[in-house]
Amino acid sequence: MKFYQSLSALHEAIIQGNLDHSSGFVKGSEFLSPEARLQIYIDGYRIRLASAIEADFDCLHHLIGDKEFKTLIGNYIEAMPPNHYSLDQYHIRFPHYLQALGCERYVSEMAMLESAIAEVFWMPHSTAITAEEFQKIDPEQLGKLTLNLRKASKLLEFEYDCESYLQKFRANKRPKSKPKKTRNFLLVYRHENAVKRVKLTCPEFEVLGFLSKGLSVSKAIEQVFAIHPEYAEDIANNIQNWFATWVKNGYFVPINNHY
């Protein structure tokens, strides 16, 4: 068997959990058959991936219970072998997998929230614009500017209040009922080397969403006015305060650091 064939045969057997052709490329030992030796790698692969997922989704684990959680993880491992060098990235497709599987919406949303926290932790670094730098911007020019969110950030929309559920869980309150059904919005971002989560109002979420797509400040606001005329007053009354808070909290990169 050629080199490439040997590597492929071993790797496929591990990922597929398939012992059928093991004697074709694996030697037996004094005590173990080729199948038993290959099984060590097959088991190790599944244990390793399951541990990685379990570490990132402890709240989801609590929410759906041990049996269902382990079944879903097992199915995910079989369906979605890792394709990145870092095991820390393996969680990223899990929420999409649950959604595609047709899991209850609050289940895939809880996975989305915990996955976002883990993903933002590992996202690339970017500095934040300071309040002093922001104040130096000519107010007349502000509308024309594009303000990019930090590289390590994700805007999320939920049908269920997974954030409140997660807060209770992390405060060791171990909630018993599922998250409440209520539309809500969240910014998950990393600032001062910590992952933070901030609840947003719908218009805040919409404005930040358009800014993150590269629209200028005035265009982003115009877009929200056009789509949600009901928020016009809210935006007009609060936009200055929002920007002050967003800048103070470190949501944006400096103007000259746009990526």
Binding site: M1, K2, F3, Y4, S6, L7, S8, L10, H11, I14, I15, G24, F25, V26, K27, S29, E30, F31, L32, P34, A36, R37, L38, I40, Y41, G44, Y45, R48, L49, A52, P81, P82, N83, H84, Y85, S86, L87, D88, Y90, F121, W122, H125, A152, R190, N193
Partner: protein, 291 residues
Amino acid sequence: MVGQTAFFMCIMNKFSFPFLGFGLGLRAPHYDLVMKTKPKVGWFEIISENFIDAHEGYWEYLSDLRPTYPIVMHGVSLSIGSTDPIKKDYLTKVKTLADHIKSPWVSDHLCFTGVNGLNSHDLLPVPYTVESLNYIVDRIKLVQDFLGRNIILENPSTYLEFTSSSIPEWEYLAQLAEQADCGLLLDVNNVYVSSKNHNYDCKKYIDTIPADRIVQIHLAGHQDYETHAIDTHDQHVIDKVWELYRYTLTQKGIITTMIEWDDHIPEFDVLQAEIAKAEAIANSITMRTAA
């Protein structure tokens, strides 16, 4: 504390990588303690993947630690044996961090972790053949050119052998190091674990590895299941591995050594006691040689 006698009797590898003494794997449960108390440890080894993509707080942590300890990068994702293209983005990150912390050397494993775009996140064995040897030698040269330094490769713990293998692992490693001009990280526990799994003579393995290629030694605990052994890094180094370590130093000279403990990680003083044991063995050998 590096024993004075051991320091003066250490062998010089052909790359002139420095003798760092006796170190530990730096793991998350001890990050705070190490920073706050600066315990007596010769050096620390980090898992490259725990830091190359981590946020700047982790890089600052290493920068703050660096004046006190040499910090060596040990990777698990190079996948030098894979037939997939070399991951330039990964290597760029490794190079950036290595320069940032002035890693005395950069190591990884003789293995492959994935193929055909997928990743097992395991250190999988390669078949030991002339074909694979030539192929991996070329890959090592490419990596060394990219990083601008000689790399160090570790002998893996393996649980199976390929029917296509035609070269004993120890000869394969020796030839690989010579042909690719790379260093070797001799994991004495891995030699022992693989010898249990493949029924070979550990001393013959050690004897064959060229001394001037060995830059570093790993020691760790493993699980013995009678029919086979698994490299688990979750307990003390066993006596037979300590004996093999003593044999290695006797044959090869005093070599930079570290203890790996990655699961069920104990209190820091337990790890320090393991280092002290390694250092005592090294000192006893140099005393005897000097006498």
